[in-house]
């Protein structure tokens, strides 16, 4: 009988898959975490999963604490804070933020960037990934550029059609200037003068054309 043969071939793969599913469903997914840490963050991870947030960054944050021998209670508190930041980032970057964007946005929020800036970036950035622009924003703030100033300039760059390589170039030149002794905000002023005129939207503006909803080129 054909069904008999089919089932005979499939019974071991089926048994294995059922075992894996049962193990995964019971929450015993191996993440290389200490059992006490895993237990402490389990409710936070479960809630994030229910909200369809990526849970890998939460496990990674817990592991970061373990590598640095941080107490479990502190790790749990940090993971909870990260989940809150990701929730905020997810709402600000909706719809359909990628995991890399959420990772970057959660870091930016940690540095003081507000959700309104993230929303403006999404609006200005079109379909492109914001992982690099948000990362550069965070790094400019870490270098000492005031949050409001850095946020405003990054949104302006996106509106003018800046792409990842423009942001990376900006960050690198500011880094070199700061190493050379220039103040971070002075350096930002200087380097923006070199980048903005070459952006697509700047050329449109210079030609007297009005594009109400600029989009980054692909």
């Amino acid at each position: 009988m054909r069904v008999d043969r089919l089932v005979r071939c499939m019974r071991w793969p089926l048994a294995v898959s059922v075992c894996i599913a049962a193990r995964a469903a019971s929450g015993q997914v191996p993440q290389g975490l200490d059992s006490a840490t895993a237990a402490a963050i389990a409710p936070i991870v479960e809630q994030a999963r229910n909200e369809k947030l990526p849970i890998a960054p939460l496990y990674a944050k817990a592991r970061e604490g373990e590598v640095q021998h941080v107490p479990v209670s502190k790790i749990a508190a940090v993971v909870r804070t990260l989940a809150d930041r990701m929730r905020t980032a997810n709402e600000a970057l909706a719809p359909g933020a990628s995991e890399q964007e959420l990772h970057a946005a959660a870091d930016a929020i940690k540095s003081g960037v507000g959700p309104e800036t993230l929303r403006a970036m999404r609006e200005a950035g079109g379909d492109g990934s914001l992982a690099v622009p948000i990362g550069v924003l965070t790094q400019l703030i870490a270098r000492g550029v005031p949050v409001e100033r850095a946020s405003m300039e990054v949104v302006t760059l996106l509106r003018k059609g800046a792409v990842a390589k423009n942001f990376i170039a900006l960050e690198e030149t500011v880094r070199q200037d700061v190493l050379a002794g220039r103040r971070p905000d002075e350096s930002l002023d200087l380097r923006l003068k070199g980048i903005i005129p070459n952006l697509p939207q700047s050329a449109t503006d210079a030609a007297g054309l009005n594009a109400s909803s600029p989009r980054r080129p692909r």
């Binding site: 008999d4 990674a60 995991e99």
Partner: protein, 207 residues
């Protein structure tokens, strides 16, 4: 001279005589032989699996349902690997209906982002001639040192590794001999506000 034809005729005559004396073949002989062969096959199956495997149609359907359930559980419970460039939002994307098949409509933006966020190879280098082992830990490898050991150049004592990293800002450190937190001397540094440690910073652009 011996006559061969005469001897052959005698031999044939004897064979014919012997065959005529064989008992008649029973009418059910063929059926009985086949039954014995079938029984032998059954006994072979018993020795390998304890008993011959047989299953009814309802049981087969039960297996199929179990497999489907297992698939749903795995999809729902196992987290995606962090290095997967799968765009979020696809799972919750609107659903279109074509000829009865429900197909998720993947926004073009998700595809664009997934392409832009494809990982690029980054080389990590640390000069540590007296180290016995060096690994790099960072947010790109979930802070798991076992994932990314560096290889030592025996002539220079320089450790290095090529790692797939997504575009964006990343923080990391080296773990020397499995325990010593070591910053990259060639990279910018930042103070982590969560755990209070100092980390090296890496900015990765797109391919």
């Amino acid at each position: 001279m011996h006559d061969i034809n005469e001897e052959g005729d005698e031999m044939i005559s004897r064979i014919v005589a012997e065959l005529k004396t064989l008992p008649p073949v029973p009418a059910d002989a063929t059926a009985r032989v086949l039954a014995r062969v079938d029984a032998a096959r059954r006994s072979e199956g018993t020795s390998r699996f304890g008993r011959r495997f047989s299953i009814s149609l309802p049981a087969a359907i039960g297996y199929a349902v179990a497999a489907t359930l297992a698939g749903f559980l795995i999809r729902g419970a196992v987290p995606r690997h962090p290095s997967e460039p799968t765009p979020r939002g696809i799972a919750s994307a609107p659903v279109g209906e074509t000829l009865g098949i429900r197909t998720p409509i993947v926004p073009a933006a998700a595809n664009t982002r997934a392409l832009e966020e494809a990982p690029v190879k980054v080389q990590f280098v640390l000069e540590a001639p007296r180290a016995k082992s060096v690994t790099v830990v960072g947010d790109f490898n979930a802070w798991d040192g076992s994932r990314t050991p560096l290889d030592r150049d025996s002539t220079t004592g320089v450790w290095s590794a090529l790692v797939d990293v997504h575009p964006g800002r990343h923080v990391y450190a080296f773990l020397v001999d499995g325990k010593t937190w070591t910053l990259d001397p060639n990279a910018p540094r930042t103070k982590d506000l969560d755990y209070g440690t100092t980390q090296s910073v890496l900015m990765v652009g797109m391919r």
